[in-house]
Protein backbone atom coordinates (compact mmCIF):
# COMPACT_ATOMS: atom_id res chain seq x y z
CA UNK A 1 0.00 0.00 0.00
CA UNK A 2 2.82 2.34 0.92
CA UNK A 3 4.43 1.65 -2.42
CA UNK A 4 1.22 2.55 -4.19
CA UNK A 5 1.05 5.90 -2.41
CA UNK A 6 4.64 6.68 -3.40
CA UNK A 7 3.86 5.74 -6.97
CA UNK A 8 0.83 8.00 -7.15
CA UNK A 9 2.83 10.82 -5.61
CA UNK A 10 5.57 10.51 -8.24
CA UNK A 11 3.02 10.43 -11.05
CA UNK A 12 1.16 13.51 -9.80
CA UNK A 13 4.41 15.40 -9.27
CA UNK A 14 5.60 14.65 -12.79
CA UNK A 15 2.27 15.71 -14.21
CA UNK A 16 2.35 19.00 -12.30
CA UNK A 17 5.92 19.82 -13.26
CA UNK A 18 5.41 19.18 -16.94
CA UNK A 19 2.01 20.78 -17.35
CA UNK A 20 3.12 24.17 -15.98
CA UNK A 21 5.77 24.40 -18.65
CA UNK A 22 3.76 25.68 -21.57
CA UNK A 23 3.45 28.68 -23.83
CA UNK A 24 0.05 27.92 -25.27
CA UNK A 25 -2.25 30.93 -25.20
CA UNK A 26 -5.95 31.37 -24.44
CA UNK A 27 -7.71 30.39 -27.63
CA UNK A 28 -5.50 27.59 -28.85
CA UNK A 29 -5.64 25.83 -25.50
CA UNK A 30 -9.25 24.87 -25.95
CA UNK A 31 -9.34 24.46 -29.71
CA UNK A 32 -8.96 20.70 -29.46
CA UNK A 33 -12.23 20.29 -27.68
CA UNK A 34 -14.27 23.26 -28.83
CA UNK A 35 -14.98 24.74 -32.19
CA UNK A 36 -12.69 27.78 -32.51
CA UNK A 37 -13.42 28.89 -36.08
CA UNK A 38 -10.28 31.02 -36.62
CA UNK A 39 -10.18 33.82 -39.16
CA UNK A 40 -8.07 33.18 -42.25
CA UNK A 41 -4.53 34.52 -42.06
CA UNK A 42 -2.67 36.16 -44.92
CA UNK A 43 1.10 36.24 -44.78
CA UNK A 44 1.52 37.79 -48.16
CA UNK A 45 0.95 41.26 -49.61
CA UNK A 46 -2.43 42.26 -48.29
CA UNK A 47 -4.96 42.98 -50.98
CA UNK A 48 -8.67 42.84 -51.53
CA UNK A 49 -8.28 39.92 -53.93
CA UNK A 50 -6.33 37.81 -51.51
CA UNK A 51 -8.81 38.51 -48.76
CA UNK A 52 -11.60 37.32 -50.99
CA UNK A 53 -9.64 34.27 -52.05
CA UNK A 54 -8.98 32.95 -48.53
CA UNK A 55 -12.54 33.65 -47.43
CA UNK A 56 -13.95 31.71 -50.32
CA UNK A 57 -11.53 28.82 -49.73
CA UNK A 58 -12.61 28.65 -46.13
CA UNK A 59 -16.26 28.69 -47.11
CA UNK A 60 -15.79 26.00 -49.74
CA UNK A 61 -13.96 23.64 -47.41
CA UNK A 62 -16.44 24.24 -44.60
CA UNK A 63 -19.21 23.03 -46.93
CA UNK A 64 -18.08 19.45 -46.38
CA UNK A 65 -20.46 17.84 -43.91
CA UNK A 66 -17.85 15.55 -42.40
CA UNK A 67 -15.79 18.33 -40.86
CA UNK A 68 -16.54 21.09 -38.44
CA UNK A 69 -13.69 23.55 -38.07
CA UNK A 70 -11.48 25.06 -40.74
CA UNK A 71 -8.32 27.16 -40.53
CA UNK A 72 -6.73 28.72 -43.61
CA UNK A 73 -3.29 30.31 -43.73
CA UNK A 74 -2.08 31.94 -46.91
CA UNK A 75 1.65 32.04 -47.26
CA UNK A 76 3.70 33.48 -50.13
CA UNK A 77 3.86 30.24 -52.05
CA UNK A 78 1.41 27.85 -50.54
CA UNK A 79 -1.94 27.88 -48.74
CA UNK A 80 -2.31 25.77 -45.63
CA UNK A 81 -5.75 24.31 -45.07
CA UNK A 82 -6.29 22.57 -41.73
CA UNK A 83 -9.57 21.12 -40.54
CA UNK A 84 -11.07 18.86 -37.87
CA UNK A 85 -13.06 15.81 -38.89
CA UNK A 86 -16.21 14.86 -36.96
CA UNK A 87 -15.55 11.99 -34.62
CA UNK A 88 -17.67 9.35 -36.31
CA UNK A 89 -16.26 10.29 -39.73
CA UNK A 90 -12.64 9.75 -38.75
CA UNK A 91 -12.65 6.32 -40.41
CA UNK A 92 -13.02 8.08 -43.78
CA UNK A 93 -10.25 10.62 -43.22
CA UNK A 94 -8.18 9.56 -46.21
CA UNK A 95 -11.18 9.74 -48.53
CA UNK A 96 -12.19 13.18 -47.23
CA UNK A 97 -8.69 14.54 -47.68
CA UNK A 98 -8.66 13.31 -51.26
CA UNK A 99 -12.01 14.93 -52.02
CA UNK A 100 -10.95 18.26 -50.54
CA UNK A 101 -7.71 18.19 -52.51
CA UNK A 102 -9.56 17.44 -55.71
CA UNK A 103 -12.11 20.18 -55.13
CA UNK A 104 -9.49 22.80 -54.30
CA UNK A 105 -7.30 21.98 -57.26
CA UNK A 106 -10.25 22.15 -59.59
CA UNK A 107 -11.55 25.43 -58.28
CA UNK A 108 -8.26 27.24 -57.62
CA UNK A 109 -5.87 25.68 -60.15
CA UNK A 110 -3.28 28.44 -59.72
CA UNK A 111 -2.79 27.99 -55.99
CA UNK A 112 -0.60 25.49 -54.21
CA UNK A 113 -2.38 23.77 -51.31
CA UNK A 114 -1.25 21.87 -48.25
CA UNK A 115 -4.21 20.06 -46.75
CA UNK A 116 -4.12 18.44 -43.34
CA UNK A 117 -6.62 16.91 -40.92
CA UNK A 118 -4.03 16.59 -38.16
CA UNK A 119 -4.99 18.13 -34.80
CA UNK A 120 -1.49 19.39 -34.33
CA UNK A 121 -1.48 21.36 -37.58
CA UNK A 122 -4.86 22.86 -36.74
CA UNK A 123 -3.68 23.69 -33.27
CA UNK A 124 -0.60 25.44 -34.61
CA UNK A 125 -2.69 27.42 -37.09
CA UNK A 126 -4.95 28.67 -34.28
CA UNK A 127 -1.93 29.49 -32.19
CA UNK A 128 -0.46 31.48 -35.06
CA UNK A 129 -3.73 33.34 -35.33
CA UNK A 130 -3.58 34.21 -31.64
CA UNK A 131 -0.02 35.41 -31.88
CA UNK A 132 -0.77 37.64 -34.83
CA UNK A 133 -3.01 39.71 -32.59
CA UNK A 134 0.04 40.68 -30.60
CA UNK A 135 1.63 43.76 -32.22
CA UNK A 136 5.16 42.65 -31.18
CA UNK A 137 4.82 39.58 -33.36
CA UNK A 138 6.33 40.54 -36.70
CA UNK A 139 5.40 39.33 -40.15
CA UNK A 140 8.80 37.68 -40.39
CA UNK A 141 8.22 35.66 -37.24
CA UNK A 142 4.85 34.57 -38.55
CA UNK A 143 6.34 33.38 -41.81
CA UNK A 144 8.94 31.44 -39.93
CA UNK A 145 6.22 29.84 -37.86
CA UNK A 146 4.32 28.84 -41.00
CA UNK A 147 7.44 27.22 -42.37
CA UNK A 148 7.70 25.25 -39.17
CA UNK A 149 4.10 24.08 -39.41
CA UNK A 150 4.58 22.94 -42.99
CA UNK A 151 7.72 21.11 -42.02
CA UNK A 152 5.85 19.37 -39.22
CA UNK A 153 3.19 18.30 -41.65
CA UNK A 154 5.72 16.86 -44.07
CA UNK A 155 7.57 14.99 -41.35
CA UNK A 156 5.69 11.76 -41.56
CA UNK A 157 3.55 11.88 -44.66
Amino acid sequence: MKKLVTLTFITVLTALLTSCNTDATQNSGMSLIQKSDPDPIILDEKSEDKQKLVSSIKKDVAKFDELYDVAVVKGEEEILVAYKVKHMQRFHMVKIEGEINKMLEKKYPKENFIVSSDYKIFLEAVELNDKMKNPDFSEKDAKKKLEEIIELKKELT
Binding site: K3, L4, L7, N21, Y119, K120, K153
Partner: protein, 157 residues
Protein backbone atom coordinates in the same frame (compact mmCIF):
# COMPACT_ATOMS: atom_id res chain seq x y z
CA UNK B 1 4.55 -34.00 -31.10
CA UNK B 2 1.01 -33.65 -32.25
CA UNK B 3 0.50 -37.27 -33.24
CA UNK B 4 -2.59 -37.79 -31.14
CA UNK B 5 -3.32 -41.39 -30.43
CA UNK B 6 -6.96 -42.38 -30.42
CA UNK B 7 -8.12 -42.06 -26.83
CA UNK B 8 -9.12 -45.15 -24.95
CA UNK B 9 -12.65 -45.46 -23.68
CA UNK B 10 -11.51 -45.08 -20.09
CA UNK B 11 -9.84 -41.75 -20.85
CA UNK B 12 -12.89 -40.53 -22.71
CA UNK B 13 -15.18 -41.48 -19.87
CA UNK B 14 -13.03 -39.87 -17.22
CA UNK B 15 -12.79 -36.61 -19.17
CA UNK B 16 -16.57 -36.47 -19.32
CA UNK B 17 -16.82 -37.30 -15.65
CA UNK B 18 -14.25 -34.71 -14.60
CA UNK B 19 -15.95 -31.95 -16.62
CA UNK B 20 -18.93 -32.08 -14.22
CA UNK B 21 -16.77 -30.92 -11.33
CA UNK B 22 -14.69 -28.31 -13.12
CA UNK B 23 -15.36 -24.66 -12.32
CA UNK B 24 -16.09 -22.93 -15.59
CA UNK B 25 -14.37 -19.72 -16.54
CA UNK B 26 -16.95 -16.94 -16.27
CA UNK B 27 -16.53 -16.03 -19.94
CA UNK B 28 -19.04 -13.19 -20.18
CA UNK B 29 -17.85 -11.54 -16.97
CA UNK B 30 -14.23 -11.90 -18.10
CA UNK B 31 -15.04 -10.32 -21.47
CA UNK B 32 -16.73 -7.38 -19.78
CA UNK B 33 -13.83 -6.84 -17.39
CA UNK B 34 -11.33 -7.13 -20.23
CA UNK B 35 -13.32 -4.61 -22.27
CA UNK B 36 -13.48 -2.08 -19.45
CA UNK B 37 -9.88 -2.36 -18.30
CA UNK B 38 -8.54 -2.57 -21.85
CA UNK B 39 -10.59 0.48 -22.76
CA UNK B 40 -9.33 2.35 -19.73
CA UNK B 41 -5.71 1.61 -20.61
CA UNK B 42 -6.34 2.86 -24.15
CA UNK B 43 -7.97 5.99 -22.75
CA UNK B 44 -4.82 6.72 -20.76
CA UNK B 45 -2.86 6.16 -23.97
CA UNK B 46 -5.09 8.64 -25.80
CA UNK B 47 -4.58 11.21 -23.05
CA UNK B 48 -0.82 10.78 -23.33
CA UNK B 49 -1.03 11.20 -27.11
CA UNK B 50 -2.84 14.52 -26.67
CA UNK B 51 -0.30 15.50 -24.06
CA UNK B 52 2.48 15.02 -26.59
CA UNK B 53 0.54 16.87 -29.32
CA UNK B 54 -0.14 19.84 -27.05
CA UNK B 55 3.12 20.36 -25.27
CA UNK B 56 5.66 18.99 -27.73
CA UNK B 57 6.00 19.29 -31.47
CA UNK B 58 4.44 15.96 -32.35
CA UNK B 59 1.62 15.56 -34.85
CA UNK B 60 -1.08 12.94 -34.52
CA UNK B 61 1.02 10.63 -36.64
CA UNK B 62 4.33 11.10 -34.89
CA UNK B 63 2.93 11.14 -31.33
CA UNK B 64 2.41 7.35 -31.48
CA UNK B 65 6.02 6.45 -30.77
CA UNK B 66 6.54 8.48 -27.58
CA UNK B 67 3.11 7.35 -26.38
CA UNK B 68 4.05 3.69 -26.71
CA UNK B 69 7.34 4.34 -24.93
CA UNK B 70 5.52 6.09 -22.08
CA UNK B 71 2.94 3.33 -21.72
CA UNK B 72 5.67 0.69 -21.59
CA UNK B 73 7.49 2.77 -18.99
CA UNK B 74 4.35 2.98 -16.84
CA UNK B 75 3.77 -0.76 -17.15
CA UNK B 76 7.40 -1.28 -16.12
CA UNK B 77 6.79 0.66 -12.91
CA UNK B 78 3.55 -1.21 -12.23
CA UNK B 79 5.25 -4.56 -12.84
CA UNK B 80 8.11 -3.67 -10.53
CA UNK B 81 5.74 -2.59 -7.77
CA UNK B 82 3.84 -5.87 -8.14
CA UNK B 83 0.57 -4.29 -9.27
CA UNK B 84 0.37 -5.46 -12.86
CA UNK B 85 0.03 -9.19 -12.17
CA UNK B 86 -2.98 -8.49 -9.95
CA UNK B 87 -4.46 -6.30 -12.65
CA UNK B 88 -3.81 -9.16 -15.09
CA UNK B 89 -5.64 -11.67 -12.91
CA UNK B 90 -8.61 -9.30 -12.82
CA UNK B 91 -8.67 -8.11 -16.41
CA UNK B 92 -7.19 -10.99 -18.41
CA UNK B 93 -6.88 -10.02 -22.06
CA UNK B 94 -7.76 -6.41 -21.18
CA UNK B 95 -4.32 -5.90 -19.72
CA UNK B 96 -2.46 -8.41 -21.89
CA UNK B 97 -3.41 -7.18 -25.36
CA UNK B 98 -2.41 -3.46 -25.12
CA UNK B 99 1.28 -2.65 -25.46
CA UNK B 100 1.52 -2.52 -21.65
CA UNK B 101 1.03 -6.30 -21.63
CA UNK B 102 4.02 -6.67 -23.91
CA UNK B 103 6.07 -4.47 -21.57
CA UNK B 104 4.93 -6.55 -18.62
CA UNK B 105 5.98 -9.80 -20.34
CA UNK B 106 9.47 -8.45 -20.99
CA UNK B 107 10.01 -6.83 -17.62
CA UNK B 108 8.59 -9.65 -15.49
CA UNK B 109 11.01 -12.04 -17.19
CA UNK B 110 13.88 -9.63 -16.52
CA UNK B 111 13.00 -9.37 -12.82
CA UNK B 112 12.51 -13.12 -12.53
CA UNK B 113 15.90 -14.05 -13.91
CA UNK B 114 17.90 -11.25 -12.31
CA UNK B 115 19.36 -13.70 -9.78
CA UNK B 116 20.97 -15.66 -12.62
CA UNK B 117 23.15 -12.70 -13.60
CA UNK B 118 22.93 -9.98 -16.22
CA UNK B 119 24.20 -11.80 -19.29
CA UNK B 120 22.73 -15.29 -19.07
CA UNK B 121 19.93 -14.38 -16.70
CA UNK B 122 18.42 -11.06 -17.74
CA UNK B 123 19.86 -10.98 -21.25
CA UNK B 124 19.10 -14.58 -22.07
CA UNK B 125 15.58 -14.64 -20.68
CA UNK B 126 14.36 -11.11 -21.43
CA UNK B 127 12.40 -12.21 -24.48
CA UNK B 128 11.43 -15.58 -23.06
CA UNK B 129 7.73 -14.73 -23.31
CA UNK B 130 7.77 -11.73 -25.65
CA UNK B 131 10.26 -13.20 -28.12
CA UNK B 132 7.66 -15.09 -30.09
CA UNK B 133 5.53 -11.93 -30.31
CA UNK B 134 8.45 -10.09 -31.88
CA UNK B 135 9.35 -12.96 -34.19
CA UNK B 136 5.88 -13.67 -35.51
CA UNK B 137 5.01 -9.98 -35.66
CA UNK B 138 7.96 -9.31 -37.94
CA UNK B 139 7.32 -12.45 -39.94
CA UNK B 140 3.63 -11.75 -40.55
CA UNK B 141 4.47 -8.16 -41.53
CA UNK B 142 6.90 -9.60 -44.05
CA UNK B 143 4.30 -11.98 -45.47
CA UNK B 144 1.67 -9.25 -45.78
CA UNK B 145 4.17 -6.90 -47.46
CA UNK B 146 5.13 -9.69 -49.85
CA UNK B 147 1.52 -10.34 -50.83
CA UNK B 148 0.89 -6.63 -51.33
CA UNK B 149 4.00 -6.25 -53.50
CA UNK B 150 2.99 -9.19 -55.68
CA UNK B 151 -0.54 -7.85 -56.10
CA UNK B 152 0.77 -4.42 -57.07
CA UNK B 153 3.17 -5.94 -59.59
CA UNK B 154 0.31 -7.91 -61.08
CA UNK B 155 -1.65 -4.70 -61.33
CA UNK B 156 -4.47 -5.77 -59.07
CA UNK B 157 -4.37 -2.68 -56.90
Amino acid sequence: MGNKKPESKEVEQYKQFEKNFETKRPVFKNCLKAFLVGGFICMIGQAITYFYIYFFSFTEQTAGNPTVATMVFISMLLTGFGVYDRLGQFAGAGSAVPVTGFGNAVISAAIEHRTEGFVLGVGGNLFKLAGSVVLFGVFSAFVVALIKTILIKLGAI
